[in-house]
Symmetry: C2
Subunit: 402 residues, 2 copies
């Protein structure tokens, strides 16, 4: 399960005291929660490309948002293709945002079934896309346009997901549920808006209600997994595609990165460090927290390891983090982590993080997780080394995909 624009600390179990997220918290209580889980990008499509391929976005061939015929290249091997090849039933219900044309669509990228939208966001009731070009409907069941105006989109996702769970309870399956909440348009259920009447900031109130709307859907999925007796045989992963939005479309915000700097679009921690949980009752620890830095690109190799599924014979940037899941003492799986997005880039090596966001900024995340003090003058050699790491890394992808 993926959330959309959920802030770094916007979950009860991450310390949010004003948010009602009993089901996300329940998932964390039966699994492992990460405090340094990084996504591949702070915008939607590259983050999803990284998740799907186990590769950095530039390596996956999609470093910018998808639109029309720009998307995840068909020759990339997705998580869905990996599991499908292993005999798993595969389905996606929710937001794709990795390309709109048939060769770029979920069905062409390993999903047996798809019901959802291909653009970046929709009105949750009409399923129209309003943010670029003509005001158009964007809801699909596989390659057929699907009309269900008036039905709240998350209810469609839950309905299809629970049907899929029922139908596939006796076989291995890979179910990808990229919810479009709490991404704008802010359209929470009214019952949850009323729950938050004491929050004074209308933006936070709206966001909180929308997040709780999402939480209720997470709960419906968990309940169905449990009711079908699948809990101990189902690995559930939940995380946000990146940090919270501060866009005008979302009233300038409502989400929170807590102590972290930045938000969606930026490569500060608040853009790329997200709430993330993995659960597998009876197989991995429950109610534990991991502080090692890990990445969304690690999920493909990790899940493949857990499921005994063969990875494709091609270079993957993520690594199996099952040892981290198992133990807080496990060594860090990544010596270096990279991000590159438009003109922005960042590199992390151990406690050091160098961010280019117009200028260079060097932070010691151990003593300054808020990236508030630029140490570039104190540690020019560190900055130089990290810059070189970035340059060496990005040069592999400059002038074309590797």
């Amino acid at each position: 399960m993926l959330s959309d624009d959920q802030g770094t600390v916007d979950m009860g179990c991450y310390g949010a005291t004003d948010l009602i997220t009993p089901n996300m918290d329940r998932l964390a209580a039966r699994g492992v929660r990460f405090t340094q889980f990084y996504v591949g990008a702070s915008i939607c499509s590259p983050s999803r490309a990284a998740l799907m391929t186990g590769r950095y976005p530039v390596h996956a061939g999609l470093a910018t948002n998808a639109y029309g015929d720009r998307g995840l290249p068909p020759d990339q091997v997705t998580m869905a293709e990996v599991f499908k090849a292993a005999g798993y039933g595969t389905a996606l219900f929710g937001k794709w945002h990795l390309g709109e044309t048939p060769p770029l669509s979920p069905n062409a990228q390993g999903f047996d079934e798809f019901l959802g939208f291909k653009v970046g966001c929709i009105d949750n009731y009409s399923h129209f896309f309003y943010w670029h070009g003509p005001n158009r409907h964007d809801l699909w069941h596989n390659e057929q346009e699907h009309w269900e105006p008036g039905t709240y989109f998350s209810d469609i996702v839950v309905r299809e997901a629970t049907r899929f769970l029922e139908e596939n309870r006796d076989r291995p399956f890979f179910l990808y549920l990229p919810f479009n909440l709490p991404h704008y348009p802010m359209q929470p259920e009214r019952r949850f808006v009323r729950l938050y009447r004491d929050i004074k900031d209308p933006n936070r109130r709206r966001y909180a209600a929308f997040l709780t709307t999402l939480d209720s859907r997470v709960g419906e999925i968990l309940d169905m997994v449990d009711a079908l007796g699948l809990a101990e045989n189902t690995i559930i992963v939940y995380f946000s595609d990146h940090g919270h939005s501060t866009e005008e479309r979302a009233f300038g915000g409502g989400g929170s990165a807590g102590p972290y700097r930045g938000h969606k679009f930026t490569l500060w921690e608040g853009g790329i460090r997200v709430p993330a949980i993995i659960s597998w009752p009876g197989h991995i620890p429950a109610g534990e927290v991991r502080n090692q830095p890990v990445m969304s690109i690690d999920l493909l190799p990790t899940l493949a390891h857990y499921c005994g599924v063969r990875l494709p014979d091609r270079e993957i940037d993520g690594v199996d983090i099952s040892r981290v899941v198992e133990s807080p003492e496990a060594p860090w799986p990544h010596q270096v982590m990279h991000w590159a997005q438009g003109k922005r880039w960042a590199v992390r090596e151990g406690k050091w993080k160098l961010v280019f966001d117009g200028g260079l900024f060097l932070a010691d995340l151990e003593s300054d997780p808020s990236e508030s003090r630029n140490l570039i003058d104190q540690f020019p050699e560190v900055a130089k080394r990290l810059k070189r790491l970035h340059e060496t890394w990005i040069s592999q992808y400059t002038g074309g995909q590797k």
Copy 2:
């Protein structure tokens, strides 16, 4: 009843052979249809301001689109205020678009009851406004925000309108139903989309289905008026707020001005000449057509005349056109007609029309209703006279409202 962005000839009885509009045609068959009915502007708010006040938009204090606290000034006297003062029950169900703040709202402008939206357009299912600033909900019952996500907006309009008709059947009432169709977003009912599967142009198909969706609502209103036995005691007026849209949001178009030049935003005939019908079974002619040029600002004095309601003691630009309604031989009620919108302006005197749209264009509408030949060099004196008419007229409003 007002439609939104309906093209000049987009109605069966106006010659459209590809459009299914049985209810609009039914209304025309029991009333009088105009071939030269002009609105006050080719954009939404000024056109509505003219209708409401019986004044040219510049005279009504709103020559541009309303937004936020920019709207029809509270000191303007609306049609609703005129009828309310005469003891009529007044209601508006639909699109207001004459200001959003309480002093500019329908309740402050003479409507006892209002259920609808104040902005220029909404998603028909979520009732969100997407075209400027934050993505926000905009549906109101009087001054209270009204939540009914998932319900098709036109169904709300019809439900409230028919309830109002029932509740007010035994008293005089003024019911204003500004439908938001076929304005973008193009969200026709699916059953009507299927009716048009033979239309090849997807834009026309979408528009046609949306117009037929509107037509079905017009039919529901007519049916209720008839069922309540109110037909012979109810004057029904129907027209479009201006010509069809060619905006990208509407896929570049779908509506038609037929032989006429221009569309929404322009002051060519296709922007300001609209389909218009008035019906009052047993009192005015039925199934007849009038070719005299008339204007939407004429409706207030005409309806006041029919209803024996006193007009406010203030200057109104419209005139009583009941003689035109009565007879095709009645003299033209306007010697001169004016439009002014941004930098564009136009003036019509008899068969002559002078349009400023970057340059000056003089047309003889009698021989060239399509405004295809600029006669300014052949008839410089005519152009000069019309230009002076415009200048004299507009000078009254330059530097402030009269």
